[in-house]
Symmetry: C2
Subunit: 153 residues, 2 copies
DNA sequence: CGAAAAGGGTTGCATTAAAAAACCAAATAA
DNA sequence: TTATTTGGTTTTTTAATGCAACCCTTTTCG
């Protein structure tokens, strides 16, 4: 049966998963952040089936995460580039990568460093308004009127 | 054919997606962060099919993201709780939620606030070692020896 | 006490999506 | 000109999803 869509769950997470929550989309986006732009390069670096890659790229373009640009002088030669919305997934990608490294060890030899200084980037954290790090136990989900909804953690 | 496993892509993102990258797992985890612990409550709040929920919970337990605890005096009454590894996905969940809200608007009325102060939490950001925010254009992926691999962005 | 409901699943079946490979057309390269 | 690259689409097989029905054990209610 049709894969359940999450639109009806009025939840931002569900909404995000509709756009980038399937098995390949985040890997395509990560690869794009590494500088990959052409169809064949995505295909070869990820080992993804061509039809799936087509489908994912189309869907990412539809959702405004990537754009398809014709970069040929007289003909068709496409590049897929991240939009601002796509580049803004950087935080999610890094958070996921760091989580995986913390709990499963480093699976790849690549390291993420600041371009200017060469120093490794810091661990991504949820912070309070004044900058202190917050765990899930230190936050609360509240409704519009500020009343606590459920206990987190 | 068998869904491609990402283990062979020696990539931390791929590894993370193997554990929590399918359609339902992250929603189950988010719901657990809201305080849900019992099977039926997951089922009803998410509207997930029971067999799929069984499968996801088992897999999350296998991967050490959740634990199944028998909380009955004389019989069986289970609770599914996040482990430390699961709670550590908080950063990922919040980053994804904030991304979705920035680009698609707020889909739910819930707000995430600091428990102690009641103030909304800050936007999650990737930061350099000295604390300044970094975009994808300001970082570099380097190999073990520090040589630049590919251009990010 | 007995009946009914709730909790935590498992099983079967229809539908759909994924993977692989073959095929295709336009544009380059040799 | 012929071969190859690029960016796809089509076809076929296999796995996953969703739904409903069923099951067994505990609680709860009359």
């Amino acid at each position: 049966m049709t894969r359940k869509r999450f639109d009806d769950l009025d939840c931002s997470i569900a909404c995000a998963l509709n756009e980038v929550g399937d098995w390949w989309s985040l890997l395509v986006i990560k690869q794009a952040m590494l500088g990959t732009r052409r169809y064949v390069d995505f295909q070869q670096s990820l080992g993804i089936a061509k039809n799936i890659l087509c489908d994912r790229l189309s869907r990412l373009v539809e959702n405004g995460v990537m754009t398809r640009v014709n970069v040929a002088e007289h003909g068709t030669r496409y590049e897929y580039r991240l939009t601002e919305k796509g580049r803004d997934l950087f935080t999610v990608i890094v958070a996921l990568r760091q989580w995986s490294e913390r709990w499963n060890g480093s699976k790849d030899t690549m390291q993420l460093v600041e371009r200017a200084s060469g120093a490794p980037v810091a661990q991504v954290e949820v912070r309070s308004a004044d900058g202190s790090a917050l765990s899930v136990r230190e936050v609360l989900f509240v409704g519009e009127n500020g009343e606590p909804l459920e206990r987190a953690g």
